[in-house]
């Protein structure tokens, strides 16, 4: 039974990453926690992953607040191009 719950570090960190978005299944989480009991490296990865997720969230907010616009010249060039292609 427990053989099915044994996973590699690669699989454990994949689940850990998925869990950062709250999208890991309960079965996956159980596998991850069992792995973490025996793997100190992945424990460290998991802890650092949370730090990184907070950093990414801060960055996401910053990016959302940014509004990108085309320059007036770019818009004029596009208008000329569209006009040419309509003819």
């Amino acid at each position: 039974m427990f053989r099915n719950l044994k996973i590699t570090c690669d699989q454990a960190t994949t689940i850990c990453d998925k869990n950062q978005y709250s999208e890991a299944s309960i079965k996956d989480k159980i596998k991850l926690y069992i792995h973490l009991v025996a793997c100190r490296i992945c424990v460290k990865y998991t802890k650092q992953n949370t730090t990184l997720s907070n950093l990414y969230k801060g960055h996401a907010q910053y990016c959302k607040d940014l509004k990108h616009c085309l320059s007036e010249k770019d818009k004029e060039d596009l208008k000329v191009l569209l006009k040419k292609n309509k003819e």
Binding site: K18, Y21, I41, N85, K86
Partner: protein
């Protein structure tokens, strides 16, 4: 009930939608020149398809659907480029150590004071620089999921990939980003 039919006004496209489409695109491709090209291609494709517009969707929705196809085409192009997606090995991929950490990739201890400095421009710049080192397809999926916070289903639909593909890409992106941030920020 009579359904309202929408009309197309190509003469007003640039003024009404250019910025919206550009903003939509740059959040996905993070490259200003490429975003401009894709927006331009969208308007040109829209002009060619004017006859096919049935008026069921709004003009903006219709243009966005064309743009999404252009972005998918771009994604597929970069996905098939040989040698472009150089992927560093984060775990042993065969032998008795398959799935384990190679020594040089094992997470190191971090200076935790960096955690308090998220607002700093320097940190944002380093993070952006690290994202830019990712293979383009990983960077795109990572940005959509983590920075733009799209739903998994939406990304899969938009890029034509399965959720398994998506999570593998997210995992590889995050593992490489972690290493890049460790080398250039946390332990620098």
């Amino acid at each position: 009930m009579i359904e309202e039919k929408h009309a197309l006004t190509p003469n007003e496209w640039i003024d009404n939608y250019a910025d919206y489409l550009y903003n939509f695109t740059i959040s996905r491709v993070n490259n200003s020149d490429l975003a401009k090209d894709l927006v331009q291609e969208t308007f040109l494709a829209g002009l060619k398809s004017v006859k096919n517009f049935q008026g069921k969707a709004t003009e903006r929705t219709w243009l966005v659907s064309i743009l999404k196809r252009k972005i998918i085409d771009h994604y597929r192009k970069i996905n098939s480029k040989k040698g472009q997606a150089e992927v560093r090995m984060d775990f042993y991929d065969d032998g008795e150590n398959k799935g384990s950490w190679p020594e040089e990739r094992v997470p190191q201890n971090w200076d935790n004071s960096s955690e308090k400095q998220i607002e700093r421009e320097e940190l944002r710049n380093q993070l952006e620089a690290c994202i830019d080192t990712l293979p383009e397809k990983y960077a795109m999926v990572f940005r959509m999921k983590t920075v733009q916070e799209f739903e998994t289903e939406e990304i899969c639909k938009e890029l034509g990939i399965t959720s398994s593909n998506l999570w593998v890409m997210i995992h590889r992106a995050r593992t490489q980003l972690r290493k890049c941030m460790e080398d250039n920020w946390f332990n620098n």
